[in-house]
Amino acid sequence: MAGLELLSDQGYRLDGRKATELRKVQARMGVFAQADGSAYLEQGNTKALAVVYGPHEIRGSRSRALHDRAVINCQYSMATFSTAERKRRPHGDRKSTEMSLHLKQTFEAAVLTELYPRSQIDIYVKILQSDGGNYSVCVNAATLAVIDAGIPMRDYVCACTVGFVDETSLADLCYAEESGGVSSLALALLPRGGQIALVQMDARLHQDHLDTLIEAAMTACKGVSKVLDQVVRQHLQEASTLQE
């Protein structure tokens, strides 16, 4: 965007953050009583709602059942009022289908599906407001929802979108930065073991910068995992004190 500096000389970004600073994360688990697990997460201005149903019997065709593990079924959709320009179809377009497949891949790496053969776990994520980092916010919200549903996982799954501009890595991009021509990379991490569940990038980046960018993404994800851990512990505390 002409005239708008993505990174000023003093090191400040468009919204006043420093290069490695994440946006404010606020989350709540157990938002809906009817679903097996649900969570709401806000990262800056991006808001996502994740709902988990399962594990339950496979719906539809029995032939899709796997004999040794559970099938994870994800759907990503955006509310029609979530973007600045009104979106006509909430889901079903190519971008949403691709995102759903990415979410499926991410959670298959983390959920202990071997414990539930021949069953299905549904993860539905809805973006209520979109301001950049949609995939990452979805993964973070879905992690909390899966934990709320009581489905065992190997580790938290934390995701972050990072970009590279002016020899610096910017953590947690907002919409203005994503559309401003920054090479962005989305990474989903299992923080304790340092295992990467998903890496996605579709921009041009010099090979030498790739390592720094991935390092920056992993550090940002570890930061997110601390926040998610705190949210889970607080939720557990609230739930147990109410029951006394």
């Binding site: 806000e42 808001k47 149903y53």
Partner: protein, 291 residues
């Protein structure tokens, strides 16, 4: 709608309770469940509202765009409705499963709200025959526990109250063509008058009595239901019978009278709450789903 399986014994229990004016959760036949209303929850929209009625949760977002008025009524704007039955509510709504219900809901909303007696459509006109405001009302169904119409109509009324339409003025450029200019001040906006916007009341006939705000279980025991759109004066603007059973004329009359009473009583507290929320202004703590 999400299906709930109710056994014969449960049906009898619910029927007998309603006959004695005592429902499963202790309410009387004309009581609503606990309702929460909050406006201005999504900042990308021009107006938004979130309503939760018991376990039913609905989110409405309104975006105002400039469009061409319809040919038959060139001096009025209009509303466009879209109801998204999301998979969050029940896995049956995944993919295209929720489309049928969504289309049915949005068609009813068109009939209830998109007319000049409910909303002042003339105020949405910018220049007759060329430009007008089109309000895209998007309803997002998050949780389904019966009584969708009531929750959606309260949310739409609250969102319309919250809608801020930017002030525009027409200017003519050099070639004589007209241009629409938005005012420079982002807070300079026009608000809508929602006094005459109706609220929908759904009455389900269970046994020989009717209940307001039925849960999914009560709906499973009901024969048929009647939805009535009632304004703040108690006038009925729209009525529709839903469901597979048949109703006799006396029950329809009784249900309409009850609906008028209940609907009229719904408007005053709602407007009071909306105005109270508005008066808090910037000091208001926005809760959204975090509370």
């Amino acid at each position: 709608m999400a299906r709930v399986k109710v056994s014969e014994a449960e049906k009898v229990y619910i029927l007998h309770g309603i006959r004695d004016d005592l429902r499963v959760d202790g309410r009387s036949c004309e009581d609503y469940r606990h309702m929460e209303v909050e406006t201005d929850v999504v900042s990308n929209t021009d107006g938004s509202a979130r309503v939760s009625l018991g376990h039913t949760a609905v989110l409405v977002g309104i975006k105002a765009e400039i469009g061409k008025p319809r040919p038959l009524v060139p001096d009025e704007g209009y509303l466009e409705f879209f109801v998204d039955c999301s998979a969050n509510a029940t896995p049956e709504f995944e993919g295209r499963g929720g489309e049928e219900l969504g289309i049915e809901l949005s068609n009813t909303l068109y009939r209830v709200f998109n007319n000049r007696s409910s909303v002042d459509l003339k105020s949405l006109c910018i220049s007759a025959g060329e430009h007008c405001w089109v309000l895209y009302v998007d309803v997002l169904l998050l949780q389904c526990d019966g009584n969708l119409y009531d929750a959606i109509s309260v949310a739409i009324k609250a969102a319309l109250f919250n809608t801020k339409i930017p002030r525009v003025h027409m200017s003519s450029d050099e070639e004589g063509g007209k241009e629409v200019e938005l005012s420079d001040d982002p807070f300079d906006c026009v608000r809508l008058n929602v006094e005459s916007v109706p609220c929908i009341v759904t009455l389900c006939k269970v046994g020989h009595r009717h209940v307001v705000d039925a849960t999914l279980q009560e709906k499973a025991c009901s024969v048929a239901s009647l939805i009535i759109a009632v304004t703040h004066r108690g006038t009925v603007t729209c009525a529709k019978k839903m469901g597979g059973g048949s109703l006799d004329p006396e029950s329809i009359f009784e249900m309409t009278e009850a609906g008028k009473r209940v609907g009229k009583a719904l408007h005053a507290p709602l407007m009071k709450l909306l105005q109270q929320e508005e008066s808090l202004g910037k000091k208001r703590q926005k809760v959204g789903f975090l509370g």
